[in-house]
């Protein structure tokens, strides 16, 4: 069919413009009406048919939508609109490969169409077609060089493509086109400068990065980020004195930020996390005594030395550290200190300390290491018992752990944390059922506490009491429709725990369903980044955007995904190995249907 046949008279041409407008403003019914008006006179008008299809797609009439769009395309293969629409249809079905093909066809017919180029670039970055993305962004920049976003996006494309040099040059060229920064865009401009420094840092051009930060210092609004970057850069360039000064300034702003502490420690010549020499230890000790003078209220300043101190120094420091936690009854003391247990010597010191405390408190009301006449309040004793219970559990001594937690519960049966720890001990000692009962007892003492409710649910699942688990979790889901609600909330810990429980009980079909749900959440999370491609560019949150893209690239390394993937494999193997003929149960029946091709792992991973 010739193109000429597809040209509408002016009245209908106006109507067509209206369809597009109705589509963009989500007035779908009106759009359909307008399309039908054109189609009454020109039933073969391709672009109208395509637009009607696109509109129908938004009214959840997918089949009809494809029908109309394909018919439109058939009548007007030479229309970029038809191809674009076809691409949009695929895009809405998340079939990005097909969508890209359609956009490319559209661009063949109208190579400089900005809208289609933009849509194509979004798909390319979503699919991580980095060279395609770079190409498209370059084309957009050449077509519209006066648009800020086109410069930035091209730079991002080169950055992601590891062409750091080019990326930096693009940003500098863009800076060169600016004649002053309007007040309203100061924040965005500062972000651009920080992003430039980030690119330089990643390329290894540390000094250029420092230079960029220095030059931009009065234009960068996010002062904190600039300072953090400076500290990092000075550190890496070997300017330790400079780095130390920056980290001290940062600690002045927030003495409890552990990154700043790590930075300070490396600038003092130690590598946090690796062995240190006695000299280095002495340096750190002096530094932290000094910090303690300055920031007596900071918990971090008191906690961090426990990592590097040894022997009697450690003992004295940890004694004064735990005293406050015990007196205030802070339940998290053990989890705060548990990382110290990599050192057996430290664990032994803690054990001795707490044992002594527990034996002296009831008679003297005093902590053995505290001088002075102050008598401790009665709860100090019970919190010390609570610590010891967790301590022994951590060291694998369940009997002692149980003894201590039972003593704690007998002393003050109203502290709910005790029941959760007892549940953990029982579970690790190999009695998940008893664990669940104790956790549920704790839960029943505060029915308004969602955390307790989740804990109890978790322990029910560990004990393979799926029904009790469902009844429990349902107390906190809307309308008691827990399955759907939990899925909507992407409640993955539940799905994974429940899936594992079904696996243990050889209900493979049910397990499969839950693990698949987890895989779906990850597909959704991946899909969710789509909106950020244009949003972050507009808002100029470039550093965060790049971090987001990288996070998405490692999404499938997430703990929940791995657990679900392992679970899926086990479920499939379980189904395969199941003796179908021998078992008349429901799960065996569903196993038959699940063994068919639709359930191959490839279809959902």
């Amino acid at each position: 069919m010739m193109k000429g046949d597809q040209v509408l008279p002016s009245k209908e041409a106006n109507l067509f413009k209206q369809i597009v407008k109705f589509y963009e403003t989500k007035q779908y019914k009106k759009g359909i009406k307008a399309a039908d008006q054109i189609l009454k006179k020109f039933p073969d008008h391709g672009e109208t048919l395509a637009m009607k299809g696109l509109t129908l797609n938004c009214m959840e009439k997918k089949e009809e939508a494809y029908e109309y769009v394909l018919r439109g395309l058939k009548y007007d293969m030479k229309s970029h609109v038809c191809w674009h629409v076809y691409g949009l249809l695929y895009r809405s079905d998340r079939d990005y490969r097909q969508a890209i093909k359609c956009y490319r066809n559209a661009l063949r017919l109208d190579k400089d169409n900005l809208q289609i180029l933009r849509d194509l670039s979004l798909l390319q970055i979503q699919m991580r077609d980095l060279s395609g993305f770079a190409e498209t962004r370059q084309q957009l920049l050449m077509l519209k060089p006066n648009n800020r976003n086109n410069w930035i996006a091209f730079a991002i494309a080169q950055h992601l493509h590891s062409s750091y040099d080019l990326a930096g040059k693009i940003l500098m060229a863009y800076e060169g086109t600016l004649e002053g920064v309007p007040v309203s865009e100061r924040y965005e401009h500062g972000e651009m400068l920080l992003y430039k420094a980030m690119i330089q840092e990643e390329s290894g051009a540390l000094n250029s990065a420092l230079e960029s930060l220095d030059k931009g210092s009065d234009q960068i609004i996010d002062v904190l980020a600039a300072k953090e970057a400076r500290g990092r850069l000075l550190q890496q360039t070997g300017n330790l004195t400079g780095a130390e000064a920056v980290y001290r300034e940062l600690l002045e702003m927030n003495p409890d930020n552990y990154n700043y502490h790590t930075g300070l420690q490396s600038s003092l010549g130690t590598d946090p996390g690796s062995e240190i020499t006695p000299d280095q230890r002495a340096t750190l000790q002096a530094a932290y005594e000094d910090l303690f003078e300055k920031y007596p209220k900071s918990t971090g300043v008191k906690r961090i030395p426990l990592n590097f101190l040894e022997g009697d120094h450690f003992k004295a420091a940890v004694q004064s550290y735990v005293t406050r936690f015990l007196q205030k009854g802070i339940p998290s003391l053990f989890s705060d200190l548990s990382s110290l247990y990599v050192s057996t010597a430290k664990a032994d010191i803690l054990e001795k300390m707490f044992e002594e405390a527990v034996s002296s408190l009831p008679s003297s009301d005093k902590l053995p290491w505290c001088q002075g006449e102050t008598l401790e309040e009665p709860a100090v004793y019970v919190w010390a018992l609570f610590y010891l219970a967790q301590h022994y559990n951590h060291r694998g001594a369940s009997t002692k752990a149980l003894e201590k937690i039972d003593a704690a519960i007998a002393h003050t049966p109203t502290i709910i944390d005790f029941y959760l720890v007892k549940a953990r001990i029982l579970n690790e000692a190999g009695d998940p059922k008893a664990a669940a009962i104790v956790a549920d007892e704790g839960r029943s003492m505060d029915l308004a506490d969602r955390y307790l409710n989740s804990e109890a649910t978790k322990w029910w699942l560990q004990a393979d009491q799926v029904e009790s688990a469902q009844d429990t979790i349902a107390l906190f889901t809307k309308d008691g429709d827990q399955g759907n609600n939990l899925h909507d909330m992407q409640c993955m810990w539940y799905e994974v725990e429940a899936g594992n429980s079904h696996l243990r009980c050889e209900r493979f079909g049910k397990a499969l369903k839950l693990f698949k749900a987890v895989a779906e959440h990850f597909a959704d999370i991946q899909e969710d980044q789509f909106d950020f491609h244009s949003y972050c560019l507009r808002k100029m949150t470039l550093r965060t955007y790049v971090k987001l893209l990288r996070m998405e690239e490692h999404l499938h390394g997430h703990r929940f995904y791995c657990m679900a993937a392992f679970g899926l494999v086990r479920a499939y193997i379980g189904i395969y190995d199941q003796p179908i003929a021998l078992e008349g149960s429901k799960s065996a029946v569903s196993a038959v249907s699940q063994r068919r091709p639709s359930a191959t792992p490839g279809s959902l991973l």
């Binding site: 009665p378 709860a379 002393h411 049966p413 109203t414 029915l447």
Partner: protein, 178 residues
């Protein structure tokens, strides 16, 4: 008996029990009292707010006072304190007295209440000493408790009756409201 050292009072705040945390109230009762209380006891106590209340020390409950209002033909009411208990490690530090004083203060503010009374087993020297020091008067006659307690034998009890208007708050029993 050895002379007890005098310990400083513990700071508490009040918590109104509800159906969300009634199990804490139950825990306190099963820990302190030998008789087991039936469900009805707790539903009745929960209906008697704000008199029925728990004491929070730091952020967990260590004591409770349960009450019940008894309507009189005159239209007035008597407030019956059915239980008062402090977990043993937290005794002797002013908590019981604060809970009792709080109930008396609330009763004073309630126009309908003239009297508050209390049953105490005659052999409970601890409670007797405690009530005396809180300014409660001992009324001479004895009677037998019947009703809520179910797995113990009926016991002889003293009845302590305190007129609301005569009662004077002892010192140092103010509770900071949360």
């Amino acid at each position: 008996m050895a002379v007890e050292k005098k310990l400083s009072p513990l700071a508490i705040s009040l918590l109104q029990p509800s159906d969300k945390n009634v199990n804490v109230l139950k825990k306190i009762h099963s820990q302190i009292f030998s008789s087991s209380y039936q469900e009805k006891f707790f539903t009745d106590s929960l209906e008697c707010l704000p008199f029925t209340s728990m004491a929070l020390y730091s952020d967990f409950a260590v004591a409770a006072i349960c009450c019940r209002l008894e309507k009189l033909p005159s239209g007035k009411s008597t407030l019956y304190i059915s239980t008062l208990g402090v977990l043993s490690p937290y005794r002797g530090r002013g908590i019981g007295k604060k809970l009792l004083a709080n109930v008396m203060k609330l009763a004073k503010e309630d126009q309908k209440i003239d009297e508050v009374y209390f049953h105490v087993p005659v052999n409970n020297a601890e409670a007797t000493g405690f009530l005396k020091s809180c300014g409660f008067a001992v009324e001479g006659h004895r009677e037998t408790i019947q009703g809520y307690t179910d797995n113990c034998d009926p016991v002889d009890c003293h009845v302590y009756v305190q007129s609301v208007s005569d009662w004077v708050a002892p010192e140092g029993v103010e509770i900071e409201e949360i």
